[in-house]
Symmetry: C2
Subunit: 331 residues, 2 copies
DNA sequence: CTGAAAGCGCTTACAG
DNA sequence: CTGAAAGCGCTTACAG
């Protein structure tokens, strides 16, 4: 391994000059060329540990994700990865494995690694999160959730819910079950539902009941089974595509055909929703783009450039076969 | 931020003594307790950059994955993450984004980060991979593919194929299409097929045709459509669950019911295969366990402990509804 | 524009 | 068992 000293010697200059060249300081045209040439020739790459130790900063962006096995997370990470790579930043991924305490721990752990910025995907922000962020003094961009004290990139969950509400009303549904998730998750548990509720509020003649499920498919199967014992609506609107998949399973198990026996919708736009049969009506989220924007924003923040507090991304409703058209039919 | 100097002063010893304490050198019981106490009190954590710079090694394990949005990759990463965390190693994930040149680049890039071990998930190993590994002098454990020169943790693809062959023969299938992938991927493209072929070779009375598809679901849809124009078998055995999902989609599009019109199987055991309808017959792979074992092995290698060249993991066949039982029926 | 010097926070022989 | 010293490979004021 070559060091800066080797390069300096070979170029006949002091190592401080090489360092200046490396860091964009003032170097004469002549020495610039000389150093450039030598570096290429020797295939020299600066030792990042020495740099970080001395400069007391790194070009690492940490990302805390709730879990690794999620379509939304994977897509978001791909967007982050792409942007950071382009901008010469390094990505450090850390999974909290669905454990909120681990999220907090990871903030401290990443701070110890001297990351210069943090991308945070968390279902909710507690006082402990804020305390950790404050203590570590790291710039943060949240993804998927909004918080008054933090910068964020979010999807337009409220509008997504609203669009879904309008869509199914247009299809003639009036006996409607909404299978949501915990309200501790503001984006998924509250906003989607509120948008949905607003759309339905504009119609007087429909009956809506709200239910709750866990995020995992098997939890959704169980929740749907309970729901269907309680009541048989014409449609079940699910807060996520995963939950919708679980509901479809439950319907099949009960021999209720989709969509003729019951309609189902999701949110997310996972690839698999297009492949299954019947294809699932859903709202497509721009996860990858969210990742990319969050990465751009955190870089700006690291460089002390101004960044809007919240960036809201569009969603798009995709009507497919899992919703029956009841319009004009007598139910 | 406290440094080793602060601790040394507070404890009334030299910093070399503190360092020795930190690294398990010989320290008297008395000073050990004193230092321990001070460290806790000051909440001291050593600066990893300084450590790495001086010691010229890290406790980082790099992992190169082909892509992030894959069930197999996510599960494997979860296994790796868990084990590494338990053993106090740090995980650095790097995605090659389906680009083999990027794989090579990432090997060099990770070497520059001074990772002490590399976990490699790659579809094939070329001379360039070997060159990079040689030049960087990093211990490597491959996951999912075998190579005579490298340590590896693999799934028993041959046996998986064999079990699948037996399974569908038992179900009475005799007109069989195998929808595989490129043979450049030894594990998925060659071994599964060879195992399958062996099982079928034990039966004289069946007709098998081999086809090829890409890995993505939409590529599989197209491949299945071509296949079905060419020939209508009683079953399509697919080299991965994703391909099987694509084939199911194609069958639905052609209004061929599954399994009564055609049977379909996959390999992998993705969660979604259980949720869709009909549920998919597949071979369940232990991705998470593979990750865990690979992590154990790379740690052993880093510590210069002996490790078997290849670890083979069991798979398990899961018969579900997507395969029709033709036994005893007249076709 | 350029170089000598100090120092980032550690570890590691080496003496005692 | 313990401490003083050298040094890992850089960056950054400071003089010139």
């Amino acid at each position: 391994m070559k060091t800066i000293i080797d390069i300096a010697r070979a170029a006949g200059v002091a190592k401080s000059t090489v360092s200046r060249y490396l860091n964009g300081g003032s170097v004469s045209e002549e020495t610039r060329e000389k150093i450039e040439h030598i570096i290429k020739q020797h295939n020299y790459v600066p030792n990042t540990f020495a740099q970080s130790l001395k400069a007391k900063k790194t070009s690492i962006i940490g990302t805390i994700v709730p879990r690794l096995d999620s379509f939304a997370v994977s897509q978001t990470l791909m967007g982050i990865d792409e942007e950071l790579r382009d901008r010469q930043y390094q990505l450090l991924i850390s999974s909290a494995n669905q454990d909120m305490n681990r999220e907090i721990e990871e903030i401290y752990a990443l701070a110890r690694q001297k990351i210069s910025g943090l991308l945070l995907m968390a279902a909710q922000i507690t006082e402990q999160h804020l305390k950790a962020i404050r203590e570590c003094r790291i710039p943060v961009v949240m993804i998927g959730q909004q918080h008054s004290l933090l910068h964020s990139v979010v999807h337009d969950d409220f509008h997504a819910g609203y669009m879904m509400g309008q869509h199914i009303l247009n299809k003639g549904h009036r006996r409607i079950a909404y299978l949501g998730v915990t309200e501790q998750d503001i984006a998924v548990g509250v906003k989607r539902k509120e948008g949905f509720r607003k759309a339905l509020g504009e119609h007087k003649d429909c009956e809506v009941r709200y239910y709750e499920s866990g995020f995992r498919m098997n939890e959704a199967v169980a929740a749907a089974e309970r729901l269907l014992e309680d009541w048989v609506p014409t449609i079940i609107v699910c807060a996520t595509d995963n939950i919708a998949l679980g509901v479809m399973k439950a319907a099949f198990l009960k021999q209720i055909p989709i969509p003729s026996g019951i309609s189902v919708t999701g949110f997310g736009g996972y690839d698999v929703t297009e492949i299954i049969h019947p294809a699932l009506t859903t709202v497509k989220y721009n996860y990858k783009r969210a990742g990319k924007l969050a990465a751009e924003n955190i870089i700006s923040l690291v460089n002390r450039e101004p960044v809007e507090m919240v960036t809201i991304l569009n969603c798009e409703i995709i009507g497919r076969e899992s919703v029956d058209n009841l319009q004009g039919r007598i139910i």
